[in-house]
Symmetry: C2
């Protein structure tokens, strides 16, 4: 998917919501456990119920790997279901990969070509040659961890490297990489005040923002400092939507939560333009 297609979808739906598919068998309605593939069945129901309010879905691969080969099958079925039924949806493999060049090429092929994801999250620690193999794929997007929403973000990311914090150094440096126009960035919502500085460095890039809801971020603050003329934000919510109810009404409850966020997003977008 091209960035322009994503932007046009956002404008059409008045939504920049990403739904995180972090599925835990202990948290989904119990009746799914009787199904052949509980995770996929649950995802399918959630996607069908929420897709009109969302522009992106983000399975975190750890939740699938935790169930071994079965889990990988569920992931494969989920991405296939999305691509077949909702090709207008932007898909994110939240995998946080990154390795030396020939290995990163393998990951890129696996997630972009074989599984057919539009994008993947990657970690910056190993630098340029660990990321460029991902950037080489046309109309695929590489979402680099910059400032994450967890407490450990303060261990290294916000430490000063010379004049500026490490995460800013990551932003600056990555702009110089080949095909850097295919980069997006993870910026946690728990630190809305940081968005002003971030937008000075990467005014045009899309930011994937986790941490709304369960992790404590505030949507209005994030938008105030993070929106750009092309929206430039994908705001993720996982548990708040997919676990809105553990009962028979789980799908309607998920749709209700997604709609609530989309409604807020529309109000914000209406206020801006």
């Amino acid at each position: 998917m091209t960035t322009n297609q994503l932007i046009s979808e956002i404008r059409k739906k008045n939504s920049f919501l990403c739904v995180g598919l972090d599925v835990d068998l202990e948290k989904i309605p119990a009746f799914f456990l009787k199904e052949e593939d509980p995770i996929f069945s649950f995802n399918k129901a959630i996607i069908d119920a929420t897709h009109q309010f969302a522009v992106a879905y983000k399975p975190n691969t750890a939740f699938y790997e935790a169930y071994g080969i079965k889990g990988w099958k569920s992931l494969e079925k989920t991405i296939n279901y999305l691509n077949e039924n909702y090709p207008e949806i932007f898909t994110i493999a939240d995998a946080k990969r990154g390795d030396i060049g020939n290995t990163s090429s393998r990951y890129a092929k696996a997630f972009f070509e074989d599984l057919g994801f539009d994008s993947i999250t990657v970690a910056p620690y190993m630098g340029k040659d660990s990321i460029e193999p991902f950037l080489a794929f046309e109309n695929k997007h590489t979402i680099l961890l910059a400032l994450t929403s967890n407490e450990g973000a303060y261990d290294f990311q916000t430490k000063k490297v010379g004049e500026q914090e490490l995460y800013k150094q990551v932003l600056e440096t990555s702009k110089q990489w080949k095909n850097s126009e295919n980069l997006m960035y993870v910026v946690g919502a728990t630190k809305a005040e940081y968005f002003t500085d971030i937008r000075k460095i990467i005014p045009d890039s899309f930011l994937l923002v986790p941490g709304i809801g369960a992790q404590g971020g505030n949507l209005r603050d994030v938008c105030k400092y993070g929106l750009n003329s092309n929206i430039g934000l994908l705001v993720n919510s996982s548990r708040g939507i997919i676990y809105a109810s553990k009962n028979d009404d789980f799908a309607e409850a998920a749709a209700g939560e997604a709609k609530k966020i989309q409604f807020e997003m529309k109000a914000i977008l209406d206020g801006v333009h």
Copy 2:
């Protein structure tokens, strides 16, 4: 496996060689392609031929993920084969994972409990709460990326954070994490002169050293600066061993290469003690 068991195995075999199982279908002897599971069959042959010269095996998970569910089956069979036939061997899932706490717990469970690896490589960028879930597993080892062997290591890892380079900051900070005795570190062999400083910070920890051979590191230099009283090194070679020949003699050729390195290691250990 406990660290003491690993040390005793190293002393018994006079080897601290780790064999990297980075299997590429295009590089293994063509006759394997007729088999039901070419990757596992190849790994099995390599392991059987080289196990007496090596103390550890390290499949890089990217190479398996690249083949989708089939690849995961090959990985599962490989680790099961190692655990069943060579329980004295230290196993490393080279996965370079790292995510927020509840997600890292998933990865830890998947690799330590379900797959049964002794250790996993992880990336430090997300800090303490992304790593501690791994450290919580008893007699399992978490191998933190410190200084990698690729060119991109100079992008961030060697940048000064305050008084010292980022990778040193990673070493210092990680020592304070809970159960830090379960930490080992990745330190690339292409930078042997760095080992002196590294040993000042973590004198007792095991270091996993990639980059001997294909990536240009030198075994004697690494040992000169990196060995400690408990050896404290696992030196990895992947392509140099597993692709020593593409013909019928691939297993003997792999054994020959492994033996050559083990012979050098023995000479170094004999010189030290």
